[in-house]
């Protein structure tokens, strides 16, 4: 089937320039989902990204502090940081399969539930502090409530859930973050008494959407089931 890519071309161009409004960003996700596995969409996306990236070269380089690379490596190796890029405990995952029908969920997720109360009520007394700034509730058809908190511009987040049903023998809940429509593993969550409170190292600042699925306890690199809960991350 021959598809028209005019709208996708325009929206991808503006997204590459970081100029899309929220409504158009959601429309783009819907269009991409409708196109499914689309070589032309990927070609256009790559072309626009390449041109946008080259625009930075028009600027005169601005030197950074000499020790910045040292500080970055030191920070990555600090306790709580990744000791190497391939650290197995790194909560962020690898790019998985293409989204396909997943992207349809993007337009559905909208934060409406007020879960701050439950977040505060379920926060362990000695638990890690909630990052400041943003608390994002998830929506979903399943029972229970899920939310996360993070500080825009900073890595790390907290995820909280209550009333989750038992995922089943050999199963866990897996939290995903989506960047440019691709799922990246953020955490595997094994609830206790239906509740979860976990600290994440993942950097959500480039993510558009978060989602929770039930997966095998091996925590696969890409979702294999439909999302139970989703949350849109708005540009803050």
């Amino acid at each position: 089937m021959i598809r028209d890519h005019a709208l996708i071309d325009e929206l991808l161009a503006i997204r590459a320039l970081d100029g899309l409004d929220e409504g158009d960003a959601e429309q783009l996700q819907r269009e991409l989902a409708a196109h499914g596995e689309c070589d032309e969409c990927r070609r256009l996306e790559a072309q626009h990204a390449e041109i946008a990236g080259m625009l930075a070269l028009a600027l005169d380089p601005r030197p950074v502090r000499e020790d910045m690379a040292d500080r970055i490596i030191a920070e990555a190796q600090a306790p709580g940081g990744a000791t190497s890029p391939a650290a197995p405990d790194e909560l962020t995952g690898r790019r998985g399969a293409r989204l396909g029908p997943w992207q349809a969920a993007f337009g559905v997720a909208a934060a409406v539930a007020l879960v701050l109360a439950f977040v505060l009520a379920t926060r362990p007394e000695a638990g890690p502090p909630i990052p400041g700034g943003v608390i994002v509730p998830f929506e979903g058809a399943g029972p229970g409530e899920v939310a996360l908190a993070y500080t825009p511009g900073e890595p790390g987040a907290l995820v909280w859930a209550t009333g989750l049903p038992d995922p089943g023998a050999g199963k866990v809940y897996e939290l995903w973050m989506f960047e440019n429509g691709d799922p990246i593993r953020a955490a595997c969550l094994a609830p206790s008494g239906g509740a979860v409170a976990a600290s994440l190292d993942a950097d959500l600042n480039s993510a558009e959407l978060m989602a929770v699925t039930v997966e095998s306890s091996e925590c696969p690199d890409a979702p294999t089931t439909d999302p139970l809960y989703t949350a849109t991350l708005d540009a803050q």
Binding site: D9, E10, I14, L17, D21, E50, L55, L57
Partner: protein, 202 residues
Amino acid sequence: MTIGTTRGAPMRSAEPAGTRDEDLLLRVGAGDEQAFRELFGRYAAVAHALAFRLVRQAQVAEEIVQEAFLAVWRNPDRYDAARGSVRSWLMGTVHHRAVDAVRREQAQRRRAEQAAGLGPGIVEDPVDDVLAAIDLPRERRLVRTALGELPEEQREVIQRMYFDGLSQSQIAERTGLPLGTVKSRALLAMRRLRAHLGEGSR
């Protein structure tokens, strides 16, 4: 990390001489600090210029660059060769973070103005001349030439959107242009740039 031949692979602009960026990134994935330093050395100054151009605050710009490269060190496998070059991925990451910072600051300023009972202040649109150049490396000269050859109305949209961090609706609001015109000019500009840079950079 997805590296290799892909269908519909995008065009590639020239990289600095020496080891390919993608090879460096593979080595970063294996924990090679020297490879990370080399990649950092190639692009940190450009990334810093981009961040500073957008946020116009030295400390914030530096933090953005540091966070972006920290993310590279921690998660090099987020790079997908099918989506463009390493350099474009890096610059896109920096640009996205800087634009986020700009819009957060704008939102906070709006809230502060509303709380103070003030209307939105007159926001100066500094349209710096990013085209001025005397002695430039080839790629910088090439990109500036490509920008300079855009029709003025298209260049203005690129400048406001990419270099000033304004959204399509903010540009429409400030210029009085219909939103559809802003969007179509952005697309036309990107196509012209692609035609120019796609030929000249190979």
